[in-house]
Symmetry: C2
Amino acid sequence: MEACNREIVARMQSPVPLIPQLGAHLVAAGGKRLRPLLTLASARLCGYVPSAQNQRHVGLAACVEFIHTATLLHDDVVDESTLRRGLASANAVFGNKASVLVGDFLFARSFQLMTADGSLKVMAILSAASATIAEGEVLQMATQNDLSTPIEKYLEVIHGKTAALFAAACRVGAVVADRSEQEEAALDAYGTNLGMAFQLVDDALDYAADQQVLGKTVGDDMREGKITLPVLAAFQAGDEAERAFWLRVIETGEQTDEDLPHALALIEKRGAIQTTIDRARVYAEAAIEALSIFPDSPIRQLMIDAASYTVSRVN
Amino acid sequence: MEACNREIVARMQSPVPLIPQLGAHLVAAGGKRLRPLLTLASARLCGYVPSAQNQRHVGLAACVEFIHTATLLHDDVVDESTLRRGLASANAVFGNKASVLVGDFLFARSFQLMTADGSLKVMAILSAASATIAEGEVLQMATQNDLSTPIEKYLEVIHGKTAALFAAACRVGAVVADRSEQEEAALDAYGTNLGMAFQLVDDALDYAADQQVLGKTVGDDMREGKITLPVLAAFQAGDEAERAFWLRVIETGEQTDEDLPHALALIEKRGAIQTTIDRARVYAEAAIEALSIFPDSPIRQLMIDAASYTVSRVN
């Protein structure tokens, strides 16, 4: 992971000073490096042995993180966010223009890293995931402010914007270890289900967490009129007055300071956080089940624990 | 070229309706398809023979256009443009968010097209060009409103934002025809120099052309405080009063309705359009010279004519 962090910093270099400056801001902001960790863990699970000669896993893990960082930069512009992981977001510090363009640079850089790796299979996986992410983001935009969005469409959105890259990050681990299609598919399933669980919990936290823990403002999703499961569940289970409330705040976007506490109370009343977490748990269990074809090992146990932990983030 | 247009439309398809909708807007807006034409012409010049089995040139030409279209979508967001090729720009019709995200989709799609082609060499060329374009755009942003920008830095900006993709489009033509490094380099030089000439002329037209012909508003660059050669040349050759004028309109951005006619008069007085065109002509001549290693042929003559025509767009 240290080698991967070094690679990330090294590959952000550019003769154009603003690029490493903005890159340093992103690196300083930290982030969990969850996606590159998935690539490294999956490779290890598949018996991949790194060596001085074989450092493919490092470049590919960095590549996965670059794709993720590029989409974060563009997301923050699209969502007009001002906080990211508890710090001022890059668009708030450097402006939207810089975020769009440096995002493009990181995206291009990720493809250079893939090309340097040289596996057409890896490129097909990661370029398809990149297209799916963009489709998920566009679909999310299209569902914004629309409470008639079916839950299936919401699941399609989070599959695109989150689960697709989790799946690709894991699958790439099997590819560098040169394992069977069956093992690739198992790791893809692990990543997909883990990503779904992760995003469901993230969406629950937006109506449940305390800002300090989350590193983002509670209620951001509501303010943006974003359609997530906590809102859909509370809306669908609500009585007439509750539905009128949700229609006003989410569809018309007319919001006052008292709306967030009221929304949290309605979500609590209708058990909508629990509904969301229950769904997340089903995905986490499917993720764990997908690992059953691999023999038990410390790394396998770690990946199982990661899936369990994902769901336990919300109390 | 028709096959390439069909490929462009086909590869814009997505289950997310907004993507083909925005794609149709871009296709309807037309555009000269200059960059895919360069790929097709370069391949032909190198003796590439298309066949029912061999359609690589079509996919790669579409790929080059996708990269270009993605950067246009993001440019228009960054520049807050409202017109593109004489029609409402995509961001004006669909919003900035859609333009950012569909740009990302097209960029990802271009990498899928490259992966489908399967040549690591092509991928290295096009992914490096994509990174260089983003660097050029960031550098352009960093020079905005700054009249102390050296002409060399301006040339670096237009190399990044325009010439790099022209060069890559041409070089890819030599690669699909499996020609020598010398021929690849010659086509790269042709593309680079043509791209420089093209952008210089484009920047001259922003202070010279009539809006109907240009399909964009004259004076856009001035309104945005963009640093281009016509302005740099007029500023550097100007007397004290002229320099004060340029500092006000470009650096502070304080502009009135009378400023554009006055700016055009100063540019005329200092021969700054001519300075710009003279530079463009030197690049166009270098582009033509780069083709001298190829035997004479109708396609070579067409590429020579294209370079000459580029400079003759301004009277």
